[in-house]
């Protein structure tokens, strides 16, 4: 399927391995990425708290650019993008006069947003468009002995009604489902749906890092080998800042954190290096050791 692809900014900034691994994984899943390289940052909720109309206009612009492509829908790879964009879209879709007002600003660039765009995070797309059975069928290297803790990021699980989470779309279970479809073991721990603390890192650094450290520690206590997240901002606080979080909570952690496309890529047979896993601050040693073991197992299976 062809999708209008919004990689977000952090995936091309401090977490380039996310953008890179998505590009590697997409063809294996028959996803054609039509990259929207003129689209701007979603504002991550921060621009909205500064000026709501500005955030809504920026995102209406992104939606309009998506609608100009021939993609079936728009896809993002960032929980925060999903949440921040959904919030703006809800206002734009709810009120015709407001949408017209915003479109007036976009007119100078020859753009116009029409109500009703479909915008899905890669996680949602995996489950709802590709399907778990199809995903499972493509697995060449099941994550047999890997204990994976899901870490969603707030913006992709709350508020539930705004994100369309309901009995028919239990999107707050999808990470667990995907881990299982890839052959891994889901680790339940206290932090699954909590906040990594990133938004207050410049305001209350200590509280922010304490949040990250606590969830990592809880996952460690639950014997997780690694965490997986669909959010690059969570990744910043959980991986890049992990050494600082260790200091704040006074505990060694060493918990690798994978981006969702990396986890999928591993199971689809890509090598850790191809997926940029050497770029992580906490080297995913447990995962890499394990891959080597399973590469061996795969050779057995062929024999």
């Amino acid at each position: 399927m062809r999708v209008a692809y919004w990689p977000g900014c952090v995936s091309r900034g401090f977490t380039p391995e996310l953008h890179g691994s998505m590009a590697k994984v997409a063809p294996l899943l028959d996803i054609e990425l039509v990259e929207m390289d003129r689209a701007a940052c979603c504002g991550a909720g921060v621009i909205a708290e500064h000026n709501q109309e500005l955030a809504d206009t920026l995102n209406a612009r992104t939606f309009a650019l998506a609608q100009q492509t021939d993609g079936e829908l728009m896809m993002n790879i960032c929980s925060t993008c999903q949440g921040a964009q959904t919030e703006c879209q809800q206002r734009l879709d709810a009120n015709d006069a407001y949408r017209d007002h915003v479109n007036e600003t976009l007119a100078s660039e020859g753009l116009r947003y029409e109500r009703g765009l479909t915008n899905k995070n890669f996680l949602w797309l995996l489950v709802e468009e590709i399907g778990l059975a199809a995903l499972q069928a493509k697995v060449t290297r099941p994550l047999s002995n890997l204990r994976v803790g899901p870490f969603y990021g707030c913006y992709i699980v709350r508020p539930m009604d705004q994100l369309g989470i309901d009995d028919d779309h239990p999107r707050h279970r999808y990470l667990q489902w995907v881990i299982e479809a890839l052959g891994g073991t889901v680790v339940d721990y206290a932090g699954v749906y909590k906040c990594c603390g990133f938004p207050i890192i410049t305001m209350n650094r200590e509280a922010s890092l304490r949040q990250a450290g606590r969830h990592l520690g809880d996952a460690l206590d639950a014997d997780a080998d690694c965490l997986v997240t669909p959010c690059p901002l969570c990744h910043l606080n959980l991986d890049l800042q992990q050494p600082l979080a260790e200091k704040v909570i006074g505990r060694e952690l060493g918990m690798p954190v994978l981006h969702l496309p990396q986890l999928v890529g591993l199971a689809l047979g890509l090598e850790p290096r191809q997926l940029g896993m050497s770029k992580h601050v906490v080297r995913p040693a447990s995962v890499i050791d394990w891959s080597a073991a399973v590469v061996g197992a795969r050779a057995d299976a062929q024999a």
């Binding site: 900034g13 000026n51 959904t86 407001y98 600003t105 100078s108 508020p159 028919d168 603390g197 938004p199």
Partner: protein, 384 residues
């Protein structure tokens, strides 16, 4: 019409400080109609099985805010949760309804928490009363309808504490003022009769545990049984403090917001390395130095792992694609009034809300085929 009784299993968290024992779980079976509330079930158990079960309640119709508990890991009102729905929401299809006391507050007994020690103490912190503009009119204040509509959402609060229970900032920073509390603060900050808008905002912005200590996690929005959306009220407070009153707080809250927005206007995409220093007043600002030094190891590590290149840390590689963006920013920021849409007040055009995120099939306007999109705001007068 007779409604049939069904059997439900309740798993209650018990704790009696006088027993000298720690908290424990206890399971009970109860027969009631599925549309009856979790509170009804607990009261029935208390009447018929175990008189020692502790729970607080009064109105039994979602008005008084006494019966806040956690049901299946989610905070809410026991009297406002149907048994059948709670059973369906139970973990892993077990249908066992798990009820425990709210979080972030000390437990007094069983399901009763100490609201005074946390919730009410923090409510008093925000000066929860009107400070009149002088001179006080001889008779009533005349206030336009529109100017009060803005604070109606925060007035809907029934002080149940559900939002406080699961606030993720409070979990790591017990001194955080809190969601219901800041919603209450907005109720007066947004009131046209109040004389102290600036002072209130200054106070809440300067407090290291104030409006900039909220981590924007949306927990309180999902927790609230009254659609108060405390987080949205906190964002309103930030907009007023920063954009309206230009309050430069010592928590760098406003500066961070401003730096972020400026960063996007300049670069189109977020340029993290710039943001860090700008949030503290620019690379050369004295406030930035300790922070930059503090984050140097992080940036160095990122450079070492080839996560980022030196060029990226200093320059933004995508900037030239976004020449038109500056104009868009300026045209909106130049407006005399900030344009703000509150769906709680304005409601949705047409009978149904637009589709929720991505549940619709196609790219362009598809009407209202979506499911479960945001709840339509309540009709006026429905809430008590």
């Amino acid at each position: 019409m007779t409604r049939s009784l069904s059997g439900y299993t309740l798993r209650l968290r018990r704790f009696d400080p006088e027993s000298g024992k720690g908290p424990y779980w206890q399971e009970f079976k109860v027969e009631l109609e599925g549309h009856r509330s979790v509170l009804d079930a607990i009261l029935k158990l208390r009447d018929e099985v175990d008189g020692s079960i502790g729970i607080r309640c009064s109105c039994r119709q979602a008005i008084c805010g006494s019966c806040g508990v956690r049901i299946n890991d989610k905070p809410g009102l026991a009297c406002h949760t149907h048994l059948e729905r709670a059973a369906q929401a139970a973990s892993e299809g077990s249908r066992v309804i798990q009820v425990e006391p709210m979080g972030n507050m000390p437990v007094i007994k069983d399901l009763i928490v100490d609201m005074d020690a946390v919730h009410w103490k923090k409510i008093r912190r925000v000066t929860p009363w009107l400070i009149n503009k002088q001179p006080v009119p001889e008779r009533e204040y005349i206030v336009s309808h529109e100017s009060m509509v803005d604070v109606t959402q925060s007035m809907g609060c029934i002080q149940c504490g559900a939002c406080v229970s699961d606030c993720l900032s409070m979990e790591v920073d017990p001194e955080f003022i809190g969601p219901a509390q800041l919603a209450k603060a907005y109720r007066f900050v947004g009131d046209p009769r109040d004389a102290r808008q600036y002072e209130r905002l200054k106070d809440l912005a300067e407090d290291p545990h104030g409006i900039y200590d909220c981590t924007h996690c949306w927990m309180c929005i999902d927790a609230c049984p009254k659609d108060v959306a405390p987080m949205s009220q906190i964002m309103r407070l930030r907009r007023l403090a920063g954009s309206e009153h230009q309050i430069e707080d010592r928590n760098n809250g406003h500066r961070h917001e401003h730096a972020f927005t400026e960063n996007i206007a300049r670069n189109g995409l977020l340029h993290e390395a710039d943001l860090l220093s700008d949030s503290y007043g620019g690379k050369l600002s004295p406030r930035a130095v300790p922070v930059l030094l503090g984050s140097l190891p992080v940036i160095l590590r990122a450079l070492m792992r080839r996560k980022i290149t030196l060029g990226h840390a200093l320059l933004h590689p995508y900037r030239r694609r976004y020449k038109d963006l500056r104009q868009l920013f300026e045209s909106i920021e130049r407006r005399e009034r900030r344009y703000e849409l509150n769906l709680y007040v304005s409601g949705y055009d047409g009978a149904e809300p637009a589709q929720a995120a991505g549940n619709g099939p196609a790219m362009v306007a598809t009407g209202t085929s979506g499911v479960g999109a945001g709840q339509a705001p309540r009709e006026e007068g429905e809430d008590i």
